[in-house]
């Protein structure tokens, strides 16, 4: 068995007063792409925020490369090498494109990613580096958000809704970049609405339903009927 990058044990999390996750068990191996699928309000974003340290709950049992990170603040989790590309891009609106990228890299982790490297990955960002990030198109903003995460040279990247609301041509650009991103043994967790895309690009998947893992397995051998049942909760 490959070395475990991320290990989550019995994770419970709340969204306000509402319990969003119930006893979730999950793991991501080194260099693996794991897809998280599930309907709206299944708890996918809450899961991402919990891993990234934005949930405030310090008792959670989340282990990263064998070390417990459940009690760390988000900035400390980021320092360990976990990056989140948040849902809706959430670039800094008063910073230019390039400033957004620089602030992504200011954590100072060493690795293959730098300004020239991310500009090579998404050349359009270099052309538009001096404008405010909010003036980019939606697709370019997603590229900027991914580039900003890469600048931290993470070992585990969490993509929340990687393709939601994007044009097909942009989605293709972003998925084309994925093999380059994982080349260096980086592990990836992807939340994706498009189930066929999710299965095509991942090695394993978890299907969440109302805060619980309804189905998990290898993406290659996944049965669409099983997924439909797990996804919608139809029995």
């Amino acid at each position: 068995m490959a070395e475990s990058m991320l290990h989550i044990q019995k994770l419970c999390a709340y969204y306000g007063d509402f319990q969003a996750l119930f006893d979730l068990d999950m793991h991501v191996n080194q260099g693996e792409v794991v897809a998280i699928i599930g309907a709206n309000a299944a708890g996918k974003t809450t899961l991402m925020r919990s891993i990234a340290g934005l949930s405030g709950d310090q008792s959670k049992k989340i282990y990263y490369r064998g070390e417990r990170i459940g009690a760390l603040r988000a900035d400390q989790v980021a320092g360990k090498g976990i990056a989140l590309v948040p849902e809706g891009r959430q670039l800094f609106s008063s910073l230019t494109v390039e400033e957004n990228l620089i602030i992504g890299g200011q954590i100072g982790r060493k690795g293959m990613w730098s300004l020239p490297a991310v500009y090579q990955l998404f050349p359009v960002l270099e052309e538009r580096r001096a404008i405010l990030a909010t003036e980019l198109s939606g697709g370019q903003q997603q590229m900027a958000a991914i580039a900003r995460a890469l600048m931290a040279n993470p070992k585990l990247i969490l993509f929340d809704e990687i393709s939601l609301g994007l044009a097909p041509v942009v989605i293709k650009t972003i998925y084309d970049a994925l093999p380059i991103i994982i080349r260096e043994g980086v592990s990836v967790m992807i939340v994706e609405q498009d189930i066929s895309k999710a299965l095509q690009f991942s090695s394993r998947f978890y299907c969440l339903q109302k805060g619980r893992v309804a189905l998990e397995g290898l993406s290659k051998t996944a049965q669409r009927d099983d997924i439909s049942r797990a996804y919608f909760g139809v029995h």
């Binding site: 603040r73 988000a74 959430q90 931290a152």
Partner: protein
Amino acid sequence: MDWINAIIQGILLGGLYALFAAGLSLIFGVMRLVNIAHGDLIVLAAYLGLSTVILLGVHPFLALLVVIPLMALIGYALQRGILNKTLGDDILPPLLVTFGLSVIIQNALLEIYSADPQKMNVGALETASLSVMDLSLGVLPLMTFVIAVVIVAALHWMFYHTALGRAFRAVSDNQDIAQLMGLNRRHIFGLAMALSLAVTAVAGLMLGVRTNFDPSIGGARLIFGFEAVIIGGLGNLWGTLIGGVILGVAQTIGAQINPGWQLLAGHLTFLVILTIRPRGLFPRMTG
């Protein structure tokens, strides 16, 4: 000529108000904190200046070398120790806590320094003036104005051209996402308050060499600072300077009409601008 004189004196007075306001503007911009104790912190800085002058026997301007780092340190400790705990979705806790702080500072100053008015002496500089055409410009007010412009320019430059400024803007835009970039917002907020009170140190010292001060005058300085920030538009430092100038000019023109109308004219101008432009003249952000 009297009117031109009033306007020029008002512009220079506006420099002092901009100094009062710059620190308020900065921390509101970074963390949406409305610091009710700001005026009393200005007075605290004036007293720290006074103590430095007395204990070390130095010139008041040299006392800045002690008071600026001291106020910055107080700012960082205050933010990390107390104010960070009050920040959240609810805007009431920071208002209440800084109001309490205001009361505490005022009474502590009263206990230590008594209610007697104090002043720092800068000798001949106090009455020195330059004659420009038929106008007589006080050197001290002119210095205050120049210092205000330099400080606002420096803060503006820092905001847009340094890593710290970038971090301030990022945290201001989105605290959660800034945390994901490895920025510890508690520390960034601490630095913002340190910078704010460093500016406040200068404001307090200029106040203390220009006029008499006693522990009770913080409230009025807070009002002037607030009015300058709001006239200029929230989160815009140059706007704050212009807001200070508008307030200063309104006051001196009011005083020119009738000496009793100085404060009234300032407040009325503020209210008129607030009515016409509720977000101020040059807003950079929404509240």
